[in-house]
Amino acid sequence: MKRKVKETIIKNVFLLIALVSIFILGLILVFLFLEGIPIFGVVSFKDFIFGCEWYPTYDPPSFGIWPLIVGSFIVTFCSSAIAIPLGILSAVYIAEIAPSFVKEIYKPVIELLAGLPSVVLGFFGMAVLAPWLQETFDIPTGLNIVNASFVLALMAVPTIASISEDALYSVPQEFKEASYALGATRFETITRVIVPAALSGISTAVILGMARAIGETMVVLMVAGGAAAIPESIFDSVRPMPASIAAEMGEAPFRSDHYHALFATGIVLFFLTLCFNLIADYVSHKFKETGSATL
């Protein structure tokens, strides 16, 4: 009897610790709101989101984060356009095409790319890519959407590649065998059988890769150029939300309107990435391949 009580206590202690992650998520929300909400006494929610002027230090200041939101989305989509094909193709390479000794080397290389600190990639974009872009295309600054998208794509590729590869890998062997038995080539098997069967996992990979790009801070802070205006070409500078928060928080006076506005930007960013993650979670559970019986 005593042993049973002890076991129950231990189990509940572990449950409590497991709930810490949820608790932290709640705390993040609480503190973002605590420090962010006061800005809505100064500017309405609608003007804050859709206002096209972000001049937090002017007199009178204006807090409209629409250019920042647009900036975030543009760099995310441009980098996805590069990272999605590269990521999925390299997942196909690892899962289906690469000889095993190449796979042994290639997979850790992708993992190393995932482990590179973002500040290092940002530095590379600044010190190497930017001057090169500037000279090659004869533009006023190399710190722009193109540069940021390239570097962000490098960060999103490992996420997309490794999750897609897991999905491709988990497609049952029988599918492949059945396809070959019908006389399909490897190419036909990959594009018509394996990739469609792994599509939910690949979609999850793409969404998580995009979430990574939209939340990434150091790269856009160092490389996107920092102009808080709606861009007209892909060679314009932008100021995505994370860059704005990181660049301005150090100078914003404590608990000023500017400080609160930056926290409110954090709220928007938080919910945006939360949406991406919940969609990814939903897709991966809803359309989970549970084996040959489900198709």
Binding site: R3, E7, K11, V13, F14, L15, A18, S21, I22, I24, L25, I28, F31, L32, L34, E35, L86, S90, I97, P108, V109, E111, L112, L113, G115, L116, P117, S118, V119, V120, G122, F123, F124, M126, A127, V128, L154, V157, A161, T185, F187, E188, G215, E216, T217, M218, L221, M222, A246, M249, F263, G266, L269, F270, T273, L274, N277, L278, A280, D281
Partner: protein, 284 residues
């Protein structure tokens, strides 16, 4: 018939090209950083504090600061992460609670690093009044790497065969003792790998420590956990973006980048090697 095989060849060529491009980008990047950075590396660079507005001296305080922050983060996140993983893998039954916890962990993993920075600023620096300090930074980074450690530990615990547990329970050993004597020791290499990857992640993050711990320059080495510190990633950022000596400190920037990359990739490489070694040596 020929057309079908031609399509296959073309497709494989595209796939190989994509894979090659990525590998080439990584290799070129690393070679470039190495060639430009290696000139700055010297005994003085690694062991001296910076002098003359960062144009002379070294980066020792930043290396030390990164070490403190990372160690602190792991000390905080490891017990919490492993215990959470034990619950998820050993105790929880399929149902709403485990589902909610899992979604929570996934969402926490997806929170942008700058939002962790805001959170650390709001909670640790301002509300709990730790100020900008090693403690605040380590707590923020600890929260950041928690999902990494939970994920890796859970996978490690799950890979311990069910028969091990059954054998132990069959001998009349209690569930708790089974976990602590049988399951965890067998999962230890996997847990270790996970925490090493957490170390790599924590050492390289910049945004979470910008407002919670990092200083551009500290005259003295930190004396307590309530002091600000210099940190390698933040050092790279400020040298590259702020100040009037950006061009003059270029060699120092490359040097610092090389040290940071070597540190982070070295740590990750250790984790990868341990993992593949364990997979080969597995007794079951």
């Amino acid at each position: 018939m020929k057309w079908r095989y031609f399509k296959q060849k073309a497709f494989f060529a595209v796939v190989r090209l994509a894979a090659f491009l990525i590998a080439a980008a990584i290799v070129l990047f690393l070679v470039y950083i190495f060639i430009n950075g290696v000139g700055a590396i010297s005994w003085e660079f690694l062991t001296e504090p910076p002098r003359d507005s960062m144009t002379k001296g070294g980066i020792m305080p930043a290396i030390l600061g990164t070490f403190y922050l990372t160690a602190g983060a792991v000390i905080i996140a490891l017990p919490l992460g492993v215990a959470s993983a034990i619950y998820l893998s050993e105790y929880a039954k399929q149902g709403p609670i485990i589902r909610i916890i899992r979604v929570g962990v996934n969402c926490l993993a997806g929170v942008p690093s700058i939002v962790f920075g805001l959170f650390g600023l709001g909670l640790f620096v301002v509300f709990l009044q730790f100020g900008s300090s090693i403690l605040s930074g380590a707590l923020t980074l600890g929260v950041l790497i928690l999902p990494t450690i939970i994920g890796a530990s859970e996978e490690a615990l799950k890979s311990v065969p069910q028969t091990f547990r059954e054998a132990s329970l069959g001998l009349g050993v209690s569930k708790w003792q089974t976990i602590i004597r049988i399951v965890v020791p067998n999962a230890l290499p996997g847990i270790l790998t996970g925490s090493i990857l957490g170390v790599g992640r924590a050492a390289g993050e910049t945004a979470p420590i910008m407002f919670t711990a990092a200083a551009f320059f500290t005259a003295k080495l930190p004396g307590s956990i309530f002091d600000e510190v210099m940190a390698l990633p933040y050092h790279v950022y400020v040298l590259a973006t702020a100040g009037t000596h950006i061009e003059e400190t270029r060699p120092f920037q490359y040097g610092t980048v090389l040290v940071l990359v070597a540190l982070v990739l070295g740590v990750d490489l250790i984790a990868i090697i341990i993992r593949s070694y364990m997979r080969k040596k597995k007794r079951w």
